[in-house]
């Protein structure tokens, strides 16, 4: 019994709400044999985690709208398909092996996890985690992160990749990059989870989600090259109105993303929600001001970029900073990203929708800068568990290690993957296909019938 119980024992993502998993084992005879300690369901926490799962899923159409609005008309469906296809493909992949590779016990020297009981989620049909939430909910919540991350990358190589290549790429990327990273950072035996005094701080996916997606996108943008005509030809967004709508859904969904990552419905959750709201507002306001000062007029695209920058920067930090810190982080994230966009212009690579420019840059910045805004109590606890002392500088080093490892690993493996995809099924579209547009070439449809007389 004890043994079987500990198989399910693991640490959840928020170190403050460590939940051990216990089991109500339903023996095959049908008799209910309670484990030594039966965990009661906490309907409130479960309710919030169910809601969070729905909210994070809402981010995927939100992202499709955000990205879809920014490309040219001829590529709008193809671009939205990148998000929607991830919903389907990664949605299946996650229950087949993603959850096991991410949250199973470390195998292959800790490179990834594995737990045969997690295959098709067979073994968790009756499991209630110690925080009172059925493990199914946790698995689904996490699955949404696995879905949105590859969809984020797609912004870096928008308007120029084949659908078949993209599908293969995200399958491989999810298996070889996302799942291992997720294991390192969030599994109780992941090496990044155990760095330093109390692990690297990555509350809701600064490294796992945003940095990994951002730098993978950057690699892809370099390898696949620019869109035809970039940057001399203007490529106007086909639907900034939809981009705004998408940004709205992303903001709302992000409450699930961050506050759900507390895997609780209490103080930690409230804190995460609060700083998420505050950082997003601060990012938006800052970008407005920067543009007003620098360009003389504030753009809507700037506003939504600021929202995103604020949301990304607070993602790793949502468990440890206070509102004042969130304002500073959100505002500086906008500034850093704004400056970063000039770098892109200088360097000439075509990170079409700024997957790296926002997610990569704000993600890296946030994962490092958060150390200056950590709640006292967290530092004290960390110190307490580490022989009495733990400094901001030490935590910065830990964060730096986590970020560097994520970048290095993503760059290398992502680079290999792109070459493999390009050499096998093909990744970059042919010149003619690109000129004709993805919607026509890849999907045989067009997005807006309304623009032509029916």
């Amino acid at each position: 019994m004890e043994n079987r119980g500990t198989i399910f024992t693991k640490y959840l993502r928020d170190p403050l709400t460590i939940c051990r998993v216990l089991v109500l084992i339903l023996l095959s005879s049908g008799t209910l044999l309670a484990a030594e300690e039966t965990v009661a369901i906490d309907t409130g926490t479960t309710a919030w985690m169910l809601t969070s799962t729905a909210l994070v899923l809402l981010m995927v159409p939100g992202l499709a709208m955000f990205y879809g609005g920014l490309v040219r008309t001829k590529n709008v469906l193809g671009t939205m398909m990148h998000s929607f296809a991830a919903m389907g493909i990664i949605g299946v992949l996650w229950v087949v092996l993603g959850y096991s590779m991410s949250f199973g016990k470390g195998v292959l020297g800790g490179w990834c996890g594995w737990n045969p009981d997690y295959f098709l989620l067979r073994g968790i049909d009756d499991v209630i985690m110690e925080c009172g939430v059925p493990e199914y909910v946790f698995a689904m919540f996490q699955g949404k992160f696995a879905i949105i991350t590859p969809a984020l990358i797609a912004g870096a190589f928008a308007e120029r990749v084949s659908f078949r290549g993209y599908c293969l790429y995200i399958v491989l990327w999810s298996i070889l990059i996302y799942n291992p990273l997720c294991h390192w950072v969030w599994a109780s035996d992941g090496w990044i989870f155990n760095l330093g005094a109390d692990g690297a701080i990555d509350f809701a996916g600064g490294t796992v989600v945003h940095i990994s997606a951002g730098v993978s996108g950057l690699v892809a943008a370099f390898y696949l090259g620019c869109r035809r005509g970039y940057p001399s030809t203007a490529m106007h967004p086909n639907n900034l109105v939809m981009t705004l709508m998408g940004a709205g859904l992303l903001w709302v969904g992000w409450f699930g993303f961050n506050a759900g990552s507390a895997v609780s419905s209490g103080l930690d959750t409230a804190r995460a929600l609060t700083v998420t709201q505050v950082a997003a507002a601060a990012g938006a306001t800052a970008w407005l001001i920067i543009e007003a000062v620098h360009l003389g007029k504030a753009t809507t695209l700037g506003l939504v970029s600021g929202i995103l920058a604020g949301l990304v920067v607070i993602t790793p930090a949502a468990g440890v900073v206070k509102p004042a810190g969130a304002i500073v982080l959100g505002m500086s994230a906008s500034l850093v990203c704004y400056l970063g966009l000039f770098l892109k212009e200088k360097m000439g690579y075509d990170d079409s929708l700024d997957a790296f420019g926002i997610h990569g840059v704000a993600g890296i910045f946030g994962a490092l800068a958060l150390v200056f805004f950590i709640r006292e109590s967290w530092m004290q606890e960390a110190a307490a568990g580490f022989g009495g002392s733990w400094s901001v500088a030490q935590q910065l080093l830990v964060q730096f290690q986590a970020v560097a490892a994520t970048i290095l690993y993503s760059v290398v493996v992502s680079g290999i993957l792109i070459v493999v995809v390009e050499k096998t099924v093909g990744f970059r579209l042919s010149e003619n296909a690109e000129k004709s547009g993805m919607d026509h070439t890849l999907h045989g449809e067009h997005g807006y019938g309304l623009i032509n007389l029916n």
Binding site: T233, T299, L301, G302, Y338, G357
Partner: protein, 117 residues
């Protein structure tokens, strides 16, 4: 009868329409088009893309078609020239084309010729 076709900047549509009405020309047909001038791209400072000035080359324009009797042609053209300029004239301000109109018919009444304009 002639057909006056003007390609103007979208932000000038209202002014051109008002000037035409003042000049006595109330019947027009407009549509959205996209234009492509030789050198204008470098000078367009209006489109901002994430804070970065980009060089657009297919720019939104508005097309105005005016069928008018011969004596109104110059009136129409002058009204457009007055109202479609940005300041003293800026690149991208547009063009006016004039073609011959052979026939004109009002669908409601079947009447044709210059009284149908």
């Amino acid at each position: 009868m002639q057909l006056v076709t003007a390609i103007i900047q979208p932000d000038k549509l209202d002014e051109v329409r008002e000037e035409l009405v003042v000049a006595g020309i109330t019947r027009i047909t407009t549509s959205r088009v996209t234009g492509h001038g030789q050198h204008q791209d470098q000078h367009d400072s209006e489109r901002l893309y994430r804070g970065q000035k980009v060089m657009p080359n297919l720019l939104p324009k508005v097309r105005i078609d005016i069928a008018c009797n011969d004596k109104f042609v110059d009136i129409a053209i002058e009204a457009i020239l007055r109202s479609a300029k940005h300041g003293d004239g800026r690149i991208g301000d547009g063009k006016i084309f004039v073609t011959e109109l052979k026939r004109c018919i009002r669908i409601r009444t079947d009447e044709s010729g210059s009284q149908a304009i």
